[in-house]
């Protein structure tokens, strides 16, 4: 492995470097190739009706991405946290809290659409920032902080909803959510693209651009790569950490709103275990849990890969317990491939 590196460093024009480059590229876009492979496999193993490949039907594909959108939004935030070498276990509970918040504010408190959404997003932002402060300023590991945050957010959701799911009815009357909220669950572009998918796409693209062009992203990657060196270089370590956890909380709350729209209710028990799916998507996407290395594009591919896999297994009526086994194996395989990555 070091051989490849050394050659690349000393003799940048030799053919050896070129083939090393191909290998490196393969690994770099590992999750994209993984996604392609799973996609092709899905086509092959898809059930057919009257010669039509069910997996490829517009409705099915829309369902695949729709099912992925919530985890995908969360996973984008999770990518930021994992890039600085942290972890956020509270995102699933935050999704539940935000779903409950949206339902309660719009239905029971009769707040309008915009104030409700803004308040819910602010709760996520603020909650995440608090967790960031606890880990950055007190120095508690983010695993512990967000484990506590998970319990707290779940508890808050149950208190706010009296432990009951809050159903969302639409209309203009009291105790009814505005119809405009329901629109968020509709499809657009001629009924092809569900709006939750559009939201996911916008979030992902914004995150990709943000990590490419912002000065902040340099700080973020440096902090994840070597915190001590980053601090001595003048990176505002505490500020970056707080911002990253705030972003993650904000996106989890956004996913919670999307969740409430899609289910027409806010239940305090929603989103249990979502944090683990999000982490899985990030890991499959090639982001290193040690921090400092990875990308949002990879995470999107990872989330889609998991979505396609779920879909094709369900289409073939594979037992849901077997589905879990297969998902587990895919995660291990993705992590194992990263160990083989040539660049250190």
């Amino acid at each position: 492995m070091t051989d490849v590196q050394d050659k690349a460093a000393t003799a940048p024009t030799t053919p050896t470097e070129k083939s090393g480059g191909v290998v490196a590229t393969l690994f770099r876009f590992q999750s994209v190739f993984g996604l392609l492979a799973v996609f092709v496999a899905a086509i092959i193993f898809s059930p057919r009706r009257d010669g039509e490949i069910l997996f490829l039907s517009a409705d099915n594909l829309a369902n695949v991405v729709r099912a992925v959108s919530e985890i995908g939004i969360i996973a984008v935030g999770m990518t930021f946290v994992i890039l600085i070498g942290g972890i956020d276990l509270s995102v699933g509970a935050m999704l539940g809290l935000a779903a409950v918040g949206s339902a309660v504010l719009m239905v029971e408190s009769d707040w309008g659409l915009i104030p409700s959404i803004l308040v819910v997003l602010l709760i996520g932002l603020f909650f995440g920032a608090l967790q960031g402060m606890a880990t950055a300023m007190i120095g508690i590991q983010s695993f512990i902080v967000t484990l506590a945050g998970l319990q707290i957010a779940r508890g808050l959701a149950r208190i706010w909803s009296d432990g009951q799911g809050v159903a969302i009815a639409y209309g203009d009357g009291p105790n009814e959510a505005p119809d405009s909220f329901a629109l968020l669950g509709e499809r657009t572009f001629g009924g092809l693209v569900p709006i939750p998918v559009l939201i996911f796409a916008v979030v992902a693209i914004a995150a990709v651009i943000f990590l490419r062009v912002s000065a902040f992203s340099r700080h973020l990657y440096a902090l994840g790569g070597n915190e001590k060196a980053a601090r001595l270089s003048g990176v505002p370590v505490i500020r970056v950490k707080i911002a990253v956890f705030a972003i993650c909380g904000l996106l989890a709350a956004l996913a919670g709103i999307v969740h409430a729209v899609q289910l027409n209710q806010g239940s305090p028990n929603d989103g249990i275990g979502y944090e683990l799916d999000a982490i899985a998507a990030v890991v499959i996407g090639g982001t290193s849990l040690a921090g400092g290395r990875g990308s949002v594009a990879g995470t999107v591919a990872g989330a889609l890969l998991l979505g396609v896999l779920n879909n094709i297994l369900a289409l073939n009526n594979i037992d849901s317990n077997i589905q879990l086994l297969i998902k587990g194996l895919v995660i291990v395989a993705a992590a194992a491939l990263q160990r083989l990555r040539p660049a250190s």
């Binding site: 690349a8 940048p12 440096a222 070597n226 003048g234």
Partner: protein, 518 residues
């Protein structure tokens, strides 16, 4: 001791690391019941020689005989089996385990039921510790102990191996005077029992007290061997440094400007003292703009801690004294604060504290100045690249592409990246901690050239180094620290390495003779 039955005989030992000849045809013998001191500057080859003897380094030239029969070690285990134990400078203890567990690590005592016999281990550990003159509860976790106590535990552990040859690499660097006394009692006891001891230290007075023979290495070669009780410190020091000052140093011109940094009686009392740290305990010094001031001192004298205090990264706690930058008092709060005042810092260990090794040269170069390459938090990639290339040219960085991982560069070029990063922040004062450690000769010369150039542009430099030739050759003035205080200050134009070394070791007589005390 008879030369025929030497316990250890190393003949014509040679070892090369890349372009550096660490050892060249070194002969070294150790008799049973002998304490043999090994002296030399950093990089003289002491550690390499002892790593060969302890089996840590296995590819070398020359021959080793133990009790007259040739041996080849394929690893530390072989050397241990031959009765050779080494007490490393970096203490290899497991902090979470108890003292007894550490002493018996890997060879735990068992009961008849094959379970760990804690009671016997504690008892035997206590006996061993008492033999080493320490009063320690063997059940205490090692992590709770002071560094000095940890050092004593490693010594007890080495003794428990019943080694015939014991190598001690600076065993007293963190011990108190009374602990050193007790250690010497133990050493004399071991000597009576016929153990051969190699004793590496920079402290002359210890060597005179405890050693039977001393060998001096310089540039990987044996340059002298003598009876330490018969030679004066001045003579030993001369043997250690006795070489013409190399011509690679840019002779600094003395044209210096206004006072840039003034430190007055700076002292720091950390709220949570960390063992092994020597925080400033009354340091005064000045740096003028255009001046390169060296910081000399032995390991643990407090050089790094002073630089950290000036950069604002020392542990928190009440401090006294003043730090003035261009006449204005400042309280450095942290790297960002220091950088905004024009104070830059190049830390001691670039791999741990300097670089993100798997990130690109570009990212590592611009990290301290990145917000200045764009507007509204958006980086202008063109400016960023331009700054990076400018710095690479100025530092004569040898690299392939800016996107290459910085970890693929040589040590010297990695160090240049850290320098470049700091220079991009346009500092007025540079704090450098061992900037040429692990850097090859060529890159060293370039770093010196750069320092001269920067001083010429009016920067002030405070350079901590343990390499005396470097301090003499590069600096205008050298301040010597000992135990967290400044004990002497020399103009390099009229003093030599011997003066620095003597002041650092606390040999008052020598430097008073030399007229170096100011």
């Amino acid at each position: 001791m008879s030369e025929v039955a030497a316990l250890v005989r190393m003949s014509e030992i040679g070892k090369r690391y890349g372009g550096v000849q660490a050892c060249r045809e070194v002969d070294f013998t150790l008799g049973a019941g002998e304490v043999h001191a090994l002296l030399g500057e950093n990089g003289a080859g002491k550690s390499t020689l002892m790593k060969i003897l302890s089996g840590d380094v296995t590819d070398y030239d020359g021959q080793i005989e133990i009790n007259g029969s040739p041996v080849t070690f394929n690893g530390p285990t072989d050397a241990q089996a031959a009765g050779i134990a080494m007490i490393h400078q970096e203490l290899d203890l497991v902090p979470g385990l108890s003292v007894a567990d550490n002493i018996f690590l890997g060879r735990e005592l068992r009961t008849g039921w094959r379970t760990v016999d804690r009671r016997r281990m504690d008892r035997e550990a206590r006996a061993l510790l008492e033999r080493s003159g320490v009063n320690l509860d063997p059940r205490r976790p090692v992590g709770e102990l002071r560094v000095g106590e940890q050092q004593l535990v490693t010594i007890a552990k080495a003794i428990s191996l019943d080694a015939r040859v014991l190598i001690m690499d600076e065993p007293t660097s963190a011990l108190t005077t009374s602990e050193v006394e007790r250690l010497f009692v133990v050493i004399r006891e071991l000597r009576r029992a016929g153990v051969g001891i190699v004793y590496i230290s920079h402290r002359m007075e210890e060597i005179a007290q405890v050693a039977d023979r001393a060998t001096v290495l310089r540039n990987g070669q044996k340059v002298a061997s003598f009876d330490p009780r018969k030679l004066s410190t001045a003579e030993v020091v001369e043997a250690m440094v006795g070489r013409p000052v190399q011509t690679m140093f840019t002779t600094p011109d003395a044209a210096t400007g206004d006072e840039l940094l003034r430190v007055e009686d700076l002292a720091l009392r950390p709220r949570r003292p960390r063992p092994g740290r020597r925080d400033p305990d009354g340091i005064s010094l000045t740096v003028r703009s255009g001046e390169i001031v060296g910081l000399a001192g032995l390991l643990g004298a407090g050089r790094t801690e002073l630089l950290e205090t000036l950069y604002g990264v020392a542990p928190g706690g009440p401090r006294s004294g003043r730090i003035l930058l261009q006449g204005k008092e400042i309280q450095p709060r942290g790297p960002r604060h220091a950088l905004s005042h024009g104070i830059g810092f190049v830390p001691e260990d670039r791999r741990i504290s300097g670089l993100v090794l798997f990130h690109s040269i570009l990212a590592n170069t611009v990290i301290s100045s990145v917000p200045s390459y764009g507007r509204l938090g958006v980086i202008a990639r063109r400016l960023e690249r331009a700054a990076s290339i400018r710095m690479a040219d100025r530092l004569r960085l040898k690299f392939g592409r800016l996107q290459d991982e910085v970890g693929t560069l040589s040590g010297g070029n990695q160090q240049k990246v850290v320098f470049g990063r700091m220079l991009l922040t346009e500092p007025r004062l540079l704090l450098l901690d061992e900037p040429t450690r692990g850097v090859d000769i060529g890159a060293k010369a370039e770093i010196y050239r750069l320092l001269g150039e920067l001083a010429g542009q009016g920067l002030g430099v405070l350079l901590a180094s343990s390499e005396l030739p470097e301090l003499i050759g590069v600096c205008d003035r050298v301040v010597v620290l000992r135990d967290g205080r400044d004990v002497a200050s020399f103009r390099t134009a009229d003093s030599g390495e011997g003066d620095l070394l003597a002041a650092a070791m606390g040999e008052r007589a020598v430097f008073e003779e030399a007229g170096g005390l100011q």
